[in-house]
């Protein structure tokens, strides 16, 4: 049941909650490693609280992004506490209430938070049973947990509220837990329906965009028309007297307006934009020579794997270069946040992926101490990485401080989200490999060149757009490439295949001519596109079937299993090509350590227009233990379609001065008519294995499978993403 998000209930938090000390992370203490993020927050009541009334609250530092996280975590907790999901109140990412689990990103939520919660819940159950045993004077082994109580064979029960007593869960977690027996499972591994969908399909207030606090005012910012634009002058008088206007904010190049009503704020924003004159400089690279620019920018050589590899003499060598344009998140709901500044303390409701790192950045931006700043996650539209959420939060913080005592809601407009969000970096890869006489790959040497894949706030105001525009700007920090396994442009640059000699290098370019950061799967989308396209090019040189060729080089059984499953379900061996149609295959393991995915697709290519249509897609995925099988399928289906959209249409357009992709008309994405005829996802459940991140597994393989299918259908090898109709038509010629 969706709770009403009144300010009172949100700030009060509800229940018997003692906040601060349970949340101090214990780093560096020499203890046996606790599972998941229990290692950072070993006290059970950092994760699970039970009130005297028996109400269960579960805390996670992760956030619901629309990936079904709340449901999956609730399943874990409800399973181990042996209650119905409805009995759990899940509190997500809130700097006042939950552990600091960094960012909800990298598909690590289940591994980090899910593991912690599952173990905490299992151990809480054990403690509750032990406490009840003492109360009932019955051996613990004769008791069992059921529906929020501990029950004896003779029917006597002790409710959790009674058993929890005083501070029962204020206990350090142990390294091992006894989980509910596989045979008794009610929830884990079952397609439990998403808890949030009923509310969302009936219009319940569900998003940060829907948050309405008492006495709330509405803010809008006027962003510069380009990164380097400077405000020459603005006729504030034209706007100050418009109906409903409460406050105008001008601080250097930072311009914003606050009004009573939302449409009044929109009208005032338009008037303010019309009243502003900017000096602009052509500061962007020439789009016609983007990759030459990328190649010439200074770079750090980041070693990824191995040393330089020489191609054996006499071997057949295949080489290829691949490219990818800038692409954007394009969340369907532009970023939004609500700020409230009163009693010298600031609260911000935001859909940021990381409330703690954002708090640090906001502290620097506003000059407030972190203890005076509370950042609370409220769900936004799917963000697919680092989009404008943190920046809207910064605007809400600044505007709230400009109007103390009243909540201020800031909504970014579509054009603002499109032109100011950080994009997925343009990238270039170069691959070389040698085949021996037995048609095996014996040497592999590849390099990837990319700009940063992470400029998340990370506690620094300089990563917030608002900080760049104020009269005393904070410069954006120079980005650093995080090492693998998190990685960035190098994610999935190393092929999973068994190859005797492999060298992979990463040229990290710190410059950011266009704003860039983490877009779902980071470098993996492009790297897997490159590797899997290249595997087809090698297979062709080897005269081998693309699926057989891959199996020939895979020793990981789980990998071979998904490859075979996808091929079988697609009917790969029996495929007969119709005119204008082709098939393509691809495989990857997300980040070489998360979910395994193989995909086979059929496309049609219209020679006249070059338009590629995805006809059908079949995928097989192994995510380890599947907590919610339908949740996994939903994520993979969505990932396939989103990747197909990136792969076929998406490219951020710009000229020397401005970003030109400002709305859906200038940055088209997949619509219903382009969605495939069919899409099937087959799950290989591994109940005894750890659960693996799934959210980013489909991006790269889908791109390669499509490119491989285009090669099969039209005889042209497309190496530049996106595979637009124009590019395909040009490649086909007449």
């Amino acid at each position: 049941m969706p709770r009403s998000l009144s300010r009172r209930s949100v700030l009060a938090g509800g229940g018997a909650l003692v906040v601060s000390f349970a949340l101090s992370p214990t780093r560096g203490a020499a203890q046996p490693q606790l599972p998941g993020d229990l290692a950072e927050y070993p006290l059970l009541d950092a994760w699970i609280r039970i009130g005297g009334d028996g109400k269960i609250t579960v805390f996670t530092g992760k956030a619901e992004l629309g990936q079904g996280l709340k449901t999956a975590l609730t399943q874990l907790a409800a399973e181990e506490l042996v209650v119905a999901p409805a009995a759990i109140l899940l509190v997500t990412a809130d700097t006042a209430l939950t552990p600091d689990e960094g960012y909800t990103a990298g598909s690590r939520s289940m591994q980090d938070s899910g593991t912690a919660i599952r173990n905490a819940a299992a151990q809480a159950r054990a403690l509750l049973i032990a406490a009840a045993a003492a109360l009932l004077q019955v051996p613990a082994a004769q008791l069992r947990a059921k529906d929020g109580a501990v029950v004896a064979a003779d029917g006597r029960r002790v409710g959790y509220g009674e058993a929890v007593g005083n501070q029962l869960l204020h206990e350090r977690a142990k390294p091992d837990s006894v989980f509910v027996d596989g045979k008794s499972r009610r929830l884990i591994g079952k397609p439990v329906p998403r808890l949030d969908i009923p509310g969302k399909v009936s219009g319940g207030a569900a998003f940060v965009q829907d948050l309405r606090l008492p006495n709330m005012a509405h803010g809008r910012v006027v962003l510069p028309p380009s990164y380097a634009a400077r405000l020459r002058q603005v006729d504030i008088a034209a706007v100050e007297h418009l109906p409903g206007v409460l406050k105008l904010v001008r601080d250097g190049n930072y311009l914003a307006v606050i009004a009573e009503g939302e449409y009044q704020a929109v009208a005032a924003m338009r008037a303010l934009a019309a009243a502003a004159q900017w000096d602009e400089t052509p500061d962007l690279p020439d789009p016609a020579t983007l990759f030459a620019t990328l190649a010439a920018l200074p770079a750090h050589a980041v070693p990824v794997q191995g040393e330089a590899v020489a191609m054996p003499p006499g071997a057949r060598v295949v080489a290829a270069r691949y490219r990818r344009d800038y692409q954007m998140h394009g969340a369907i709901g532009p970023s939004c946040a609500v700020g409230l500044y009163e009693d010298s303390a600031l609260s911000v409701w935001t859909h940021s992926q990381g409330v703690y790192p954002l708090r640090g950045a906001l502290a620097e931006l506003t000059g407030l101490a972190p203890a005076k700043l509370r950042v609370i996650h409220a769900e936004g539209a799917g963000c697919y990485g680092h989009n404008g959420a943190d920046d809207a939060a910064a605007d809400a913080a600044l505007l709230a401080m400009a109007l103390p005592g009243r909540p201020v809601r800031v909504q970014w407009m579509r054009e603002q989200e499109h032109t100011w969000e950080p994009y997925g970096s343009a990238m270039q890869t170069d691959l070389r490999a040698a085949l021996d006489r037995s048609q095996r790959i014996v040497a592999w040497d590849s390099g990837v060149r990319s700009m940063s894949h992470t400029t998340r706030p990370g506690g620094k105001a300089g990563n917030l757009v608002a900080a760049w525009h104020r009269a005393r700007p904070v410069a954006q920090p120079v980005p650093e490439p995080p090492p693998l396994p998190e990685g960035g442009g190098d994610r999935n640059a190393v092929p999973l295949y068994t190859i005797p000699a492999v060298h992979v290098g990463y040229d990290f370019v710190p410059a950011m001519p266009l704003r860039v950061s983490a877009l779902r799967s980071l470098g993996a989308y492009m790297n897997i596109f490159s590797i899997e396209s290249f595997m087809d090019e090698l297979a062709r040189e080897a005269g081998a079937d693309p699926v057989d060729f891959r199996l020939r080089h895979l020793d990981d059984r789980r990998a071979s299993a998904v490859v075979r499953e996808a091929a079988d379900r697609f009917g790969w061996a029996a495929f007969s090509r119709r005119p204008g149609r082709g098939r393509g295959f691809a495989f990857a393991r997300d980040n070489n350590l998360a979910a395994y995915l193989a995909i086979a697709v059929e496309v049609s290519v219209d020679r006249e227009s070059g338009r590629v249509h995805l006809v059908r897609a079949i995928a097989a995925v192994d995510s380890g233990e599947a907590i919610n099988p339908d949740g996994i399928k939903n994520q993979i289906e969505g990932g396939i379609l989103q990747s197909a959209s990136w792969t076929l249409y998406e490219s951020v357009r710009f000229d020397r001065t401005r970003i030109l992709s400002r709305d859906w008309s200038s940055y088209p994405i997949m619509r219903f008519s382009a969605a495939p005829d069919s899409l099937e996802v087959y799950l290989i459940d591994q109940p005894d294995r750890p659960f693996l991140g799934t959210g980013e597994a489909a991006q790269g393989p889908t791109a390669a499978a499509i490119a491989n299918a285009v090669a099969d259908a039209a005889g042209v090898r497309m190496r530049d993403l996106p595979l637009t109709a124009e590019r395909v038509k040009a490649a086909i010629g007449e």
Binding site: K200, S202, R414
Partner: protein, 163 residues
Amino acid sequence: MITLSVNGISHRLEIDPATPLLYALRGELRLSGAKFGCGLGQCGACTVIVEGEPVFSCLLPVAALQGRAIRTIEGLGNADRPSPLQQAFIAEQAAQCGYCSAGMILRAQALLDRNPAPSEAEIRNAMEPNLCRCGTYLRILRAIGRAAAALQKARPAATPEAG
């Protein structure tokens, strides 16, 4: 003073008549189902039904709505008693982030009201104005088909349409 009829209820609002319906719904009327996605008529997140037609509420000034029946997602059903179409979306789990859902459901409802047994091609065509960035298109199509089938079954045995 503008009078709006929303889900069968009349509301008198003291509001700038140029205000797009979306802001009146979400602000004055506290109906937050319809969403702001672009304000440009390109994404459909704001879709509501006016006199049976699906419209972009982000571009529809309330001045144009006097005396015209408006239906929003809240008027179809709620989480406890979802309408057949909403039930179908739940059954098919046809949502990821869910931001586009309300708009999708309204456009689908308008289709089913006009054409109770649409083919898949007709559904795709009718739904074209609405975007889903999470890629849930196929589940949405299944949900609409499922709702159409359920509505057909529930129909009393009337004269069958020409096959």
